[in-house]
Point group: C2
Chain length 200, copies 2
Amino acid sequence: MANTIEFYFDFSSPYGYFASFKVDSLAKKFGRTAIWKPILIGAAFRQTGAKPLADIPIKGDYCRHDWQRMSTHMEVPWVLPDPFPIAAIAPGRVYYWLSDQNMELAKQYANDVYKAYFADGRNISEPDIAVEIAANLGADRDDTHQALQDESVKQRFTAETNTAIELGVFGSPFIVVDGEGFWGSDRMWMIKKKLQQSKW
Amino acid sequence: MANTIEFYFDFSSPYGYFASFKVDSLAKKFGRTAIWKPILIGAAFRQTGAKPLADIPIKGDYCRHDWQRMSTHMEVPWVLPDPFPIAAIAPGRVYYWLSDQNMELAKQYANDVYKAYFADGRNISEPDIAVEIAANLGADRDDTHQALQDESVKQRFTAETNTAIELGVFGSPFIVVDGEGFWGSDRMWMIKKKLQQSKW
């Protein structure tokens, strides 16, 4: 048992966005810290045969309505971005590069990336936008651009995604507490019970 | 607006089973009646490209664990039946045949079918077992066997499934309140809010 919980998500995932508003306060309530781990969920989809929600007949229409009402219930901003979904490679790389320097800054970056995409509708897969969001938090713009092309940063993001899949992560959001996984933004009640039972 | 809500489910669906314990009390709390509508979710899966949860790599293992812990949280019986999943044709036909005679009896039948499958591990897709469960509630055994082969009963079950898909049902459980759909056993909180807002 550790005093952390792991929050796996894809920057292109609406339900990951909704969960991002809750996960830190939930962890804190039980003396834990949430470690944010962006991944490319498409890599998991290739193993499970899943497709992006928005592209699925019938279910896609349901989800578009569901995201709207989720934002209303949660009182958080929402736009369906265009393009959607995207391969969120650039912000994932920037995130891990930042997290090795300053975990809290990286978390703020992740929050800002989610808001840029799902509140402001900006295309966060574009390197310039992914870098700009970091620069607005004080990161050096040139350094951040270079990090995007750094082989070790690229490999780090790929490795984080692969490790997540090996641990059983197949969707976003996916929260792990003491090795037990919880899939979906609707499972906060069950995570809360798990945290209550554990004696950290 | 009607004073009913519709509860769509597949007799082979674990999450439908879990929702079945909650839907009537939730409806009643707001002066509504839940109309139970068994369907063959496989027909929807053919349109959405979904596969049975248990057969999906990674996700299947997650779900097997999740069903176990759901039963613990809800304090309801649980076994993973073998075979699983099944095409629950026989109990679906018996259900609609009964519901045309006595809606409450049909609902009791549906409850007993779910328990036979997910608490006792009996193969409810076998006509003899589907009939026996009805006979235990007082239905005539021969009449029930005949109903299973009745063309109008067969067509009724097919038509209910097709109508559900046309309405946007793609998973089990799927609950519809005044035309708005809610997918999954985790969405009772949102259904409750919807029912609170409506002025029936």
